[in-house]
């Protein structure tokens, strides 16, 4: 098939783009977890912040991805052309599912369990690390899974601003009306999303209680 021949001829380039794509998604998801999980935990401790924070994350989510990339370009530190800007945008998109699921996962812990824990003399941090997070992990992972799958798709657009990744093939294919090129980028991206969904689904089920 044409596609297989294409991959044969361009193996190194294709792997390079796949690697770039994985870096874009991996780095942004990781950052989103590092920011989003503590933020979600904070929301369970400060209920007054819940509305504004979740509302803000929701607004970010509704911004069309190409538009967000465009907005970020002129910014002094976070912007410019390339992978860094793309990662910033991808982090923004990953935040809502992760923050919200962390909040829901932790606040969904049985109140009796929480009361018993506090009543027995657990500090807030012990309650969080020994009870709330372990019990909420399943839901938190569901959020990570959604963020990752969305990230794989959104990362294809990053090629428009010079960030590389599988989107390069797609854009090249679109500008030259070359279906093989388009598929060369779109197919692995779709597969990547499916694999990520499956793997993280396994992890999620293992932790779900």
């Amino acid at each position: 098939m044409n596609l297989l021949r294409f991959y044969g001829d361009h193996a190194r380039e294709a792997f390079g783009l796949l690697g770039q794509h994985l870096v874009l998604v991996g780095a942004s998801t990781l950052l989103a977890i590092l920011i989003g999980v503590p933020l979600g935990v904070l929301l369970t401790r400060r209920p007054a912040w819940r509305g504004p924070v979740l509302g803000l994350a929701n607004v970010f989510q509704t911004i069309p991805s190409l538009a967000l990339f465009g907005f970020l370009i002129p910014l002094p530190f976070l912007g410019g052309i390339g992978a860094r800007t793309a990662i910033v945008a991808l982090v923004v998109y990953a935040l809502l599912p992760i923050v919200r699921n962390t909040y829901v996962g932790i606040s969904g812990v049985d109140p009796a369990v929480r009361e018993a824990g506090r009543g027995m003399g657990m500090t807030d941090r012990q309650l969080l690390t020994m009870v709330e997070i372990p019990l909420g992990l399943g839901v938190i992972f569901a959020g990570v899974r959604v963020a990752t799958v969305v990230g794989v798709g959104t990362a294809t657009i990053a090629a428009a601003i010079g960030a590389g990744g599988l989107g390069v093939y797609i854009f090249r294919g679109v500008s030259t009306v070359d279906d093989t090129l388009i598929l060369a980028g779109a197919l692995p991206a779709a597969l990547l999303a499916l694999i990520a969904d499956g793997l993280l689904g396994l992890v999620e089920r293992r932790f779900a209680r």
Binding site: I81, G82, A159, A160, G162, R172, S175, T176, V177
Partner: protein
């Protein structure tokens, strides 16, 4: 009386049924100059022939527009002779402007059912562009000059330039260009910003772009004449030409009237001063073809 009524009805039905074909559809590629030229053509057709014209601007790259015209989704658009020659007809690049135009006309008419109109008067070739500071620092005037220091530079190009036979691949071979890393691929519109901001050091812009002047950039001379000529001219569906020869006559008025300097000024007005291209086209027509 009855015959009159019937023929009137018949004409009305025919008119109603064919009304969508009486409309002329003008397409454009996805950059300002192409949009402007499409608008220019559209207004010229409207004012000279009274035919309704629909604009489909900013469609996509060369291949997208070619798809659109061969499949009948648009009736005409402005193409560049060299681009048609190397990208559509797949010939190796050639330098003689007249020969390129002749071959384009003949083969388009014969194999694609498309007719070339008269060139508008300017050549918009690829402009290999660097920042003025770098041009002065390294003494860069021609592309051969930049080939000397290419390993120290980062290049950035749009997707079409990277893919085309008369694009980066051929250029690199013709001049022995070897950059530090493979060029970064990005949306064509972003390449000027990337160059100005220092994300890249060399791009392939267009010689009639207004931004070159506005951003204090320098276009290098193609000393080895690698790029073929890119004369802008309307390409029309032969069907349209046959049915509406008045369209061809109207567009022929534009032949040779638009210089490269003029085009550059118009691009500057549209891109940098953010002026409305429909207004610019109206002004230009009022002044040059009253």
């Amino acid at each position: 009386m009855r015959v009159g009524l019937l023929s009137a009805l018949g004409l009305a039905l025919m008119g109603g049924g064919c009304s969508h074909r009486e409309r002329v559809v003008v397409g454009a590629k996805n950059f300002t100059e192409s949009d402007f030229l499409a608008e220019l053509l559209a207004q010229q057709i409207e004012r000279r022939t009274g035919l309704p014209v629909e604009r489909r601007l900013h469609l996509g790259g060369t291949y997208v527009c070619h798809e659109a015209i061969t499949s009948g989704k648009i009736d005409l658009y402005v193409e560049y002779t060299g681009t048609a020659y190397t990208e559509i007809l797949k010939h190796p690049p050639m330098a003689d402007a007249d020969s390129v135009y002749r071959v384009d006309s003949l083969e388009y008419a014969k194999t694609l059912g498309l007719t070339w109109g008269r060139p508008l008067g300017f050549n918009n070739t690829f402009a290999i562009t660097v920042r003025r500071a770098d041009a002065e620092k390294y003494g860069l005037r021609t592309i051969s000059d930049v080939a000397r220091i290419a390993p120290q530079l980062r290049a950035g190009f749009g997707y079409e330039f990277l893919q085309r036979a008369d694009g980066f691949g051929g250029l690199a071979r013709a001049y022995g260009l070897r950059f530090a890393a493979p060029p970064t691929a990005m949306d064509l519109g972003l390449t000027y910003r990337a160059l100005a901001q220092g994300n890249v050091d060399l791009i392939a812009g267009n010689s009639t772009d207004g931004t070159i002047q506005a951003l204090d950039l320098v276009a290098l001379e193609d000393d080895r004449h690698y790029f073929p000529p890119y004369d802008a001219a309307p390409v029309m569906r032969t069907e349209l030409v046959t049915r509406h020869p008045e369209v061809v006559r109207a567009l022929a008025e534009l032949a040779g009237k638009l210089s490269a300097a003029e085009m550059r000024r118009l691009n500057l007005a549209a891109d940098v001063e953010h002026r409305d291209i429909a207004a610019l086209a109206r002004e230009w027509l009022a002044k040059n073809l009253p």
